[in-house]
Subunit: 677 residues, 2 copies
């Protein structure tokens, strides 16, 4: 019950409450109780961030102060704010609404500093918005002849006195260079942005409420970026470009091999990826009309080689054993030092830590997004790229490894393979009776046996098979009996179809013959067998480490993971058996992780600590790897290990399979570095 | 007395002592006692920094270990060091000489970390060598497949385990970029240089014992630099160049005025001073053969306008009241960010704090060099430039002010004035009977009335009068009666000499007539009167603040201070009366201060703290300034205030002096900004 001197105030949804002297502003009450209310202007009634609703109690809408009102009437600044910026019915600015009696106050989501943003993706946790950058509106003392302190020192004083920010250090010279003009342009009222409570990044000569950040996912093939509002967490624009490094090699190892032979090219490759990033951010800026000096923070995720190349570190060491990283810690750097100029001159770039020489910051980002470390389920995360990055575990611990799959899954080393681009076959079905194939090409929804297909693909034509197409063809060939479990393309059915053709001492399967002939030959099957065996053997090693026989959940990350049909991946024996409903693709999981680290500064601390705790397994030196690798060559090896898969599909009967000599030959070939393509 | 298990060791000159188990190395003993012995290699017997002399005791010079020896005989690494690098008679490497019995050990100066270097200048304290940069020889673990940590992390581990350096952070990306190659080139043995126990600046793939630093004094007219050995403190080379900014105005205010009218020129002027610095450092490097990646630290002192221009801050605010500095704190920055490229990419630059808008980091450096804050003597430090910087005080406190002298003392605003350069008259004597002048020109030791003078100056000719020459001419004219105490050039003696000539309504004194005519006119005298009155009045204000009537010691800093004859300065009434033996010029005091801050990291903390404590007086707003200023116009005003001066020289009798109207006119003229010359 309110008295003549104080009143009882309850804040919702936190439920925190206390008694406060009459006349105290609601913002002050909230701050005293540790209730989360945003404010940039520090109680001047101009930023509008601290809006609340009065749930129980009353307030006068007119300029009458009355004992019966529980909140003071609108102040003049509040009234002015309402007229100029608008206030929803029932809303008040908590910095100007004062306690006159007992009240229950509701703080809407948008007035909280640590807002929660529901992510659109299924099965993923919410992002708590708590960015590294915070804005502070300041009233700086003007200099006079009696006070000879520097402008910077008076700004720091205001930050301390008005906001309790007393640990500002490491001030960039670019900031000091712009300081004097901005203070005078703003007539000593400015908005300062502070990074992690210690760096002043920028100031503006007015009240600023919105600043922005960039989440970057630098892949071997593509670079994706999201432009986010750092205060609401909203993604304002997303875009992607081809990684311009591609002209130095389609896959990672080609690029490293190129640099090994042309050491000075490392700097050049660094330069072009940086200019690609600038191009991409500029595009996002043009789409949204956001000026570059409002972009203050950025987060980068990428594999170790992209990581080193972005930072200007020659990646040669990552190309040879023992694959030593320059650093396995996160890096915080001024974007300008990376020649990223499409942001404010003092904007920061945070690069997530790499997990190991072959398991990158992108894998770390997937962890942030998929949170296996918070789950009971034994989760397997696979990111298939030139080498597959594998993480296995749950809240009791995580293990990471890289599988030496080579680039076959990306369509390289396959006779008709190509990158997943226009003209590439991505889905295939084979008639079990006629052995006739039908297929779909990227960017076209029609099947090749539908009418009008030729017209639909007139522009691109059919140019090759991409990674997911290869998985499907081989699986289908296996299901219809064209490939034996040991991987040999069968010549037995030769008479019943002219799709199977003699190819030297082995056979090939003709998928398409138009302007080009597209077929699968014995070497293609072998390349995929080697890749999938390496992947499976690596997973099995990790399962051994954790001493488990089954996996609860499989997440296929990366672009490849989004495109393949998980059923076919399992038929081929790429991944271990798992309930199919628990196998999912998380195509942009790395990008989502980047966005989480951008919007929540504690996520950075979380992932840094998690990465240190992950146990890294180097599969190549594990004694069991060879045996597991050979065992995993069959399609799918040991069907009895796939109880879940057998519930869904009838697999061909497995004949005995033992062909160690040939296998070993392929294996040693696989270990060598692939020459430049 | 030594026992079978331990012995008594005394270290000189510290006198620290203790008992140590037989077999302990002397370096370990010293470290346990906190005795200052240097070491880079950490006891491997290869750096040779830890040499000692055995004073009492014996050691075997042969490979015989005997009970009667108090130190172990030469170890194999020690013997190798002696053969390759040489060891003076009686010297041992303390890391390999082991205790076998009682001994008194002497640590020579050069083996101490905190060496003391005797400065050549009189009356100045020693510099304790304790640089911000320290070198550490490291044995880094190579990576292997079982240990997937980054190379950087293993380097940091070695620094921690081998040297207890566990607070390394803020690692520059340039360092990481070079890390992997260096570690492998050095076969995992490297020397790391650490800045202030927290930044790794550079590493080398071998043992490095010598690194270097630059002390820079950026004056309005000249830039001076010293290249110093950071371990011995030795100055290896010193050089200077004209400040290339000079083409934007000879004096400071001209440059600020130029920038005010051409705001974009600020960046250009920043660029040229930086390139001047690079040119100068390169010259020092070529003189000494030192490669740029060995230069790791630098210190800059300069006035506030040079300070802002070097940092790329537009100095316009320093040109108008209230003369607000961007920052009055010291700045530590990577030299590369200042485009100083003639050092290692990660080398640091430390810029001393400015004291106030008109009292710069150069004045702070003079304090470091002259240490009035450690003295009982009431010390006045004057640095005459475009504006005179004044510091007055002793260990009880310091006051600082700037006197609005304008550039007259530098020869500007004087009809025949010029910068102190070739052809400038710098010393003058006038015959009291004939009024004939004789003079000396810069870079020529002959007087103008000596035979062969014309030949001696044939190349330069006589082109004008520099600041010190003006002081002498005016003083001499005053002493022989050609100038009255109120400053009027007297026409009375016109008949007895044709050196006094009519010049409109006033007179002029002809000093020289050859290819050019050089004379002193009434306006010249007035300009100097205004300047010296401003200086004197400012000093008087500070004396008022401290409530003192006399000054114990006067230090004239800066180039002008070194060139003027202090007697003449006192005759003219530029500086207050003081015992002449206590008036000294400290021409390179600012440069010495820069060197101190370069060689001793604690000097940086000392000056930062001192600058905060100095009381800054803005003379322009002090109520008494006007009155003091007018009173100080006479030559020398109120002779009775110069008891010490009168002991040395007979001054003309002072007539009454009162000419307030004219004075005010000049005064208001003086306050205006001088247009661009």
């Amino acid at each position: 019950m309110s008295t003549d001197t104080d009143a009882h105030i309850i804040f919702q949804p936190s439920g925190r409450q206390g008694r406060f002297p009459l006349g105290t502003s609601l913002l002050k009450c909230a701050q005293k109780l540790g209730v989360d209310i945003d404010s940039i202007c520090g109680g001047q009634g101009i930023c509008g961030r601290c809006q609340i609703n009065l749930i129980i109690g009353e307030f006068s809408k007119f300029q009458i102060s009355s004992k019966h009102n529980n909140l003071s009437s609108f102040s003049i600044p509040e009234q002015k704010y309402k007229e100029q910026a608008g206030l929803k019915e029932g809303r008040r600015l908590s910095c100007h609404a004062k306690v006159l009696g007992d009240a229950v106050i509701h703080i809407p989501q948008e007035s909280q500093v640590h807002k929660q943003v529901i992510r659109k993706e299924a099965k993923s946790h919410e992002i708590t918005i708590d960015p590294a950058i915070r804005l502070y509106y300041l009233d700086v003392k003007a200099p006079n002849l009696q006070n000879s302190s520097g402008d910077l020192e008076r700004l720091l004083l205001a930050l301390n006195e008005q906001w309790g920010q007393n640990n500002i250090r490491d001030i960039e010279i670019e900031f000091i260079q712009s300081l004097q003009k901005t203070l005078r342009d703003g007539n000593w009222k400015v908005t300062a942005s502070i990074y992690l409570n210690k760096n002043i990044i920028a100031i503006w000569p007015c009240l600023i409420k919105q600043v922005f950040g960039i989440a970057l996912d630098i892949g071997t093939t593509t670079i994706a970026a999201h432009l986010c509002d750092l205060t609401t967490g909203e993604v304002l624009a997303s875009d992607g470009i081809m990684n311009p490094q591609i002209r130095f090699g389609e896959d990672l190892m080609s690029r490293v091999a190129y640099i090994m032979m042309n050491p000075s090219s490392s700097d050049q490759i660094t330069k072009i990826v940086r200019s690609g990033i600038n191009k991409l951010i500029k595009r996002l800026r043009l789409q949204t009309g956001i000026e570059k000096n409002k972009i203050l923070d950025s987060v980068v995720v990428c594999n170790p080689i992209m990581h080193h190349l972005l930072l200007g570190i020659n990646p040669t060491e990552l190309g040879t054993s023992p694959f030593a990283l320059s650093t396995n810690k996160s890096i915080t750097i001024t974007a300008k030092k990376l020649s990223i100029t499409e942001m404010n001159d003092t904007a920061k770039t945070y690069i997530l830590p790499c997990i190991a020489g072959h398991v990158g910051a992108d894998a770390a980002a997937v962890l942030l997004s998929e949170t296996p470390h918070l789950s009971d389920e034994m989760t397997l995360i696979i990111d298939v790229g030139t080498n597959a990055e594998i993480i296995l575990g749950n809240k009791n611990g995580l293990f990471a490894a890289s599988a030496p799959t080579g680039p076959a899954f990306e369509g390289a080393q396959i006779s008709c393979g190509q990158r997943a681009g226009p003209g590439a076959i991505e889905h295939v079905r084979i008639d079990p009776k006629t052995f006739e194939p039908r297929f779909q090409v990227i960017n076209c929804n029609m099947w090749s046996d539908e009418e009008g297909f030729s017209d639909a693909i007139k522009e691109t034509g059919v140019t090759g098979i991409c990674g997911s197409g290869i998985i499907e063809i081989l699986s289908e060939m296996y299901l219809v009996g064209l490939i034996k479990p040991n991987g040999l393309i069968s010549g037995i059915n030769k008479k019943s179809t002219d799709r199977i053709q003699k190819d030297g001492r082995t056979f090939r399967y003709l998928v398409y013959s138009g302007n080009v002939e597209i077929s699968i030959n014995q070497n293609d099957v072998r390349a995929i067998q080697l890749a999938k065996a390496a992947l499976y053997a690596s997973v099995q090693l990790l399962m051994d480490k954790i001493k488990i026989k089954t996996i609860d959940r499989v997440i296929l990350a990366g672009a490849f993971g989004s495109n393949i049909d998980v059923l076919y991946a399992m038929i081929l024996g790429m991944i271990p058996d798992c309930e199919l409903s628990k196998v999912s693709a998380a195509g942009n999981a790395a990008g989502t992780g980047a966005r989480i680290a951008l919007l929540n500064k504690n996520a950075r601390i979380e992932i840094e600590s998690l990465v240190q705790k992950i146990q890294k397994i180097e599969t190549a030196v594990e004694p069991m790897f060879q045996q597991y690798f050979i065992n995993a060559m069959a399609i799918p090896h040991k069907v009895d290990r796939f109880p879940n898969l057998q519930k869904v599909i009838a697999l061909p009967k497995v004949s005995e399979y033992n062909e160690p000599t040939t296998m070993r030959k392929f294996q040693s070939k696989q270990r060598r570095h692939r020459p430049i393509s």
